[in-house]
């Protein structure tokens, strides 16, 4: 097999900034004769990833075929190579990854080679968010004093990361006291659709990533495919190796209705967590669909996507829709970038409207959002939702059980 599969799907569309090239899922459908258009959006994005990374070596025609033939009726035990477009790290899990890169430079240099050749191959962003502790509080000086303590405790690690930031290509550090990795990713780093120059063409593809933190899934709310992985897998991805994963089942989660007065997205996510934990969705993708999505803000969706590890899923994915574009505008993203997101996703059939044909999923869950009530979850597990009106009762009986058990 040659590059046939890439050549036959290479296509273009025009934007105000000029032509954009891409690997077309519609053309792939024609070329291999498989109906792709009703696959879950998340599977189609994985398929695009495999297609545009096809090299006949690490990514093969069989991999493309396997995903295109994704079957809602049976669990697949086929592995595919996923090559995320970028990697995000936080400081706890990220430091050892960077230490390993630095060690690679040292050994290359000892062997008489050029250490500058060792760099991440895909872009990496590390956000320092895990080290700050709440030593001072309820005073106007709390922030500056906590930062001071944080630097006292962590200056060795921070000095190292600052060195890495200047030494490596494709490696950026968001300093302490700026934000939390997933929120910075949501509000700034994620492109939704990326592009790069290849042989003079601007080629667009969906933004995808892995991160060394389980709540990496928050970015699924912005329609970016990605989840948390271990440090070794993240290092492999940083160095251009694919992540080998089983083709997942996809649970379609239909939302309808809208939140009642006084009810928040937090109440909604705690309810979703309760429902999905009971059902058992470990190792599966969740993909949200239905008209209820049109009544949720992007931030609401990000809250729901964030807690995928708590409901046990690999992802909690939302497709691009009009609200995605609004959020990109509101967060000050570049106008041309927003145009690219809109045109690319529409061209690829990935843009959701209330009229979109429903994908075919492995299984279905439904929820009327208007039934959600103010809630908490606890006292020791995130899936143990307690309705606010029942809290006193729930607290008292849990406490009684505890004390009873101790006697």
């Amino acid at each position: 097999m040659s590059d046939e599969i890439k050549l036959s799907t290479y296509s273009r569309f025009n934007t105000s900034a000029g032509p954009i090239y891409f690997y077309s899922l519609k053309l792939l459908e024609n070329s291999i004769g498989v109906n792709i258009s009703r696959l879950p959006v998340s599977i189609r994005i994985l398929l695009e990833n495999v297609l545009h990374n096809f090299d006949d070596r690490t990514v093969t025609v069989e991999n493309v075929q396997a995903l295109a033939n994704w079957n809602s009726n049976k669990a697949e035990y086929t592995e595919i190579p996923f090559k995320p477009a970028r990697v995000i790290l936080q400081d706890f899990t990220g430091v050892p990854c960077v230490v390993d890169l630095a060690a690679m430079r040292s050994v290359v240099s000892k062997m008489g080679g050029d250490p500058d050749r060792i760099n991440p191959i895909v872009p990496v962003d590390l956000v320092i968010d895990h080290s700050v502790q709440v030593d001072y509080y309820a005073t106007s000086e709390a922030f500056s004093k906590n930062v001071e303590r944080e630097y006292e405790r962590n200056h060795e690690r921070y000095g190292f990361l600052r060195w890495a930031q200047s030494a490596f290509d494709n490696f950026r550090v968001v300093p302490p006291g700026t934000g939390i990795v997933h929120q910075v990713n949501l509000e700034c780093l994620a492109s939704v659709v990326s592009s790069k120059e290849v042989n003079g063409d601007t080629v667009a593809f969906p933004d995808t990533l892995v991160g060394t933190d389980s709540h990496t899934t928050m970015i699924n709310g912005l329609s970016v495919l990605g989840w948390g992985v271990g440090g070794i897998e993240a290092e492999a991805c940083m160095l251009g190796q694919p992540l080998h994963m089983l083709i997942p089942e996809v649970v379609g989660f239909k939302l309808y209705g809208e939140l009642s007065h006084g009810v928040t997205a937090t109440d909604l996510v705690l309810t979703v967590t309760e429902i999905l934990r009971k059902r058992g969705v470990v190792g599966k993708f969740i993909e949200f669909f239905g008209r209820g999505l049109s009544h949720l803000s992007l931030s609401d969706k990000a809250t729901i996507a964030n807690m995928a590890p708590e409901y046990g899923a690999t992802m909690g994915f939302f497709p691009v829709d009009i609200e995605t574009l609004r959020y990109l505008k509101m967060t000050g993203r570049d106008r041309k970038q927003i145009e690219l997101v809109e045109l690319y996703t529409k061209e690829q059939g990935l843009f959701r409207t209330d009229e979109s044909e429903e994908p075919i999923f492995s299984e279905l869950v439904e929820l009327d959002i208007s039934t959600i009530e103010p809630s908490l979850a606890g006292p020791t597990r995130p899936q143990d939702r307690v309705s606010l009106k029942n809290l006193k009762e729930s607290y008292e009986s849990t406490l009684k059980d505890r004390l009873g058990g101790r006697r």
């Binding site: 709440v134 200047s166 997933h182 007065h261 937090t266 979850a377």
Partner: protein, 500 residues
């Protein structure tokens, strides 16, 4: 003082326990159910302007009604982005949050990942002394016991406006729809409904204060950092100057005797078992994440390096120093090593001498004797979170292969990534069914020639009486690429050879 009704369970009932706590502000009553941590925290919620503005509006109305938060409550506001404080300031709501003690404490994970910091001593002491079940209410995403704070047994996840409401209530033992949160200056009860904002109020405030300029202004500087950051002493140059005396960052030995050519594969001869394990050993058993015990090998190493136990920090923060991490591997006290049944984790037997010692010490001893090591496990080996140090630590202890009944997917792939061979007992077989004790000498053949994915490999176990058992296992290198990784001694070495 106690404005909330409590269920009467009789005089001897522990559930209604109360203790007096003396703080700078005076004496206060701490009870079961008292809220001692109230944290607006976590990307889960601080990314959502509706709930953040909602929390601000609850604070505003509470202050206007003359409510306040008890000094027993540790209040904090830690957003995941600087934009949040900008729009809270712009809306004027920050003032009210501060009034209730929700001052900015940082931009980071804080309470959500357990970085909640200590509680005031009198509170911690009272909780310990009276065994009180106090509560945290936080807008985070996880609440496993002990995660939020070691002394706080109950943690409730809730939206930011509810976090503020429970700070005002000061307890989770409350029917918050029907009992008042407190009293206003005229001694009238104030209820949740009196301070809960309408959807319309939230929406108009959000629309008024959020705009693209806010985000552009903050994020144009996102890689800049403050003075603390820019004034850090930072080494220059394309190579890192490893500091010998750093206890946080050390050059890892993965590339010791690295050569451009990969070595030819060889069989594993005369290996000893480092640890013999049962079912469902988690990555946290293999490489614990939390506090570093003083009397374990990692703690003793740090003390030798001149680090005081109070400055140990956690295993998490020391993942850049393999010397600490190797010593922590298989050292979790909950690990049950069947070579030394009845002992807590971290201990093993050095087979040749039959001496009991720490896993780390045994590993050193075996390595100095030139003996390769293996680990034998049961079902679902390496389950739990995909902690890379579980595989790194295993490799650095000198373990060449693991034989288990089944593997958690990611840990198996991490072992391959570190050049450790995952082998699997044939279906229905286990170390128990084969009557292995773990004190045998092991020869593993079939690696050096024609290694292929899922190949059957022969293992020979010879006990000290000279009796031998022979059984086949499945090589869990599952793809040609994994064979390649293994041949190279792991992913890092593979990639390095490609890059040179």
């Amino acid at each position: 003082m106690n404005q909330h009704s409590r269920t009467d369970w009789g005089e001897d009932d522990d559930t209604a326990k109360t203790a007096e706590v003396e703080l700078d502000s005076g004496k206060h009553l701490l009870s079961n159910g008292s809220v001692v941590i109230s944290a607006i925290t976590s990307c889960t919620n601080t990314s959502n302007p509706s709930v953040m503005i909602g929390a601000g509006l609850v604070a505003k109305k509470a202050v206007e009604h003359g409510l306040s938060v008890s000094p027993l409550v540790k209040t904090s506001l830690a957003p995941g982005s600087r934009v949040v404080t900008d729009y809270l300031e712009a809306s004027g709501l920050m003032y009210y949050l501060n009034k209730l003690g929700f001052d900015l404490v940082g931009y980071g994970c804080t309470t959500c990942i357990g970085n909640s910091g200590p509680l005031p001593d009198p509170i911690e002491n009272a909780i310990k002394k009276h065994d009180l079940t106090c509560a945290a209410v936080l807008s985070g995403n996880r609440n496993f016991e002990g995660r939020i704070h070691p002394f706080v047994k109950f943690s409730y996840l809730a939206s930011p406006p509810l976090v503020v409401a429970f700070a005002l209530a000061g307890t989770v033992d409350i029917d918050i729809y029907n009992e008042p949160l407190g009293k206003d200056s005229d001694d009238n009860p104030v209820f949740l409904k009196d301070i809960w904002p309408s959807q319309e109020e939230i929406r108009t405030t959000v629309e008024k204060v959020l705009n693209p300029e806010l985000f552009r202004a903050q994020y144009s500087l996102v890689f800049e950092g403050d003075e603390n950051w820019s004034s850090l002493s930072t080494p220059k140059g394309s190579q890192y100057e490893w500091e010998k005396d750093s206890t946080y960052i050390q050059e890892p030995p993965y590339f010791k005797d690295f050569s451009i050519e990969s070595h030819s594969l060889s069989d594993i001869k005369s290996a000893n078992v480092l640890v013999l394990l049962g079912d469902s050993v988690t990555t946290d058993h293999i490489s614990p994440a939390g506090a570093i015990p003083k009397d374990g090998p990692a703690g003793m190493f740090l003390i030798d390096e001149g680090v005081k136990p109070s400055e140990f920090n956690s295993f998490g923060s020391r993942r850049g120093n393999h010397e600490v991490m190797i010593r922590g591997t298989f050292a979790n006290i909950r690990l049950r090593n069947q070579l030394v049944p009845g002992t807590e984790g971290g201990m093993t037997i050095h087979t040749p001498t039959n001496e009991k010692m720490s896993v780390f010490e045994a590993s050193r001893r075996y390595q100095s004797e030139g003996r390769p090591l293996i680990v034998i496990g049961g079902k679902e080996y390496g389950t739990g979170s995909s902690r890379d140090w579980a595989a790194k630590g295993t490799a650095l202890l000198g373990v060449k292969a693991v034989i288990a009944e089944s593997y958690e997917r990611i840990h198996r792939s991490n072992l391959v990534g570190m050049g450790v061979l995952p082998l699997q007992f044939k279906h229905g077989e286990s170390w128990k069914s084969l009557s292995l004790t773990g004190f045998e000498d092991y020869n593993i053949e079939g690696i050096s020639k024609e290694l292929s994915p899922r190949k059957e490999i022969m293992v020979q176990a010879i006990n000290n009486g000279g009796d031998q058992k022979v059984f086949n296992v499945i090589c869990r290198l599952d793809s040609p690429i994994e064979i390649d990784y293994y041949r190279n001694g792991g992913i890092l070495r593979t990639v390095l050879r490609e890059m040179i």
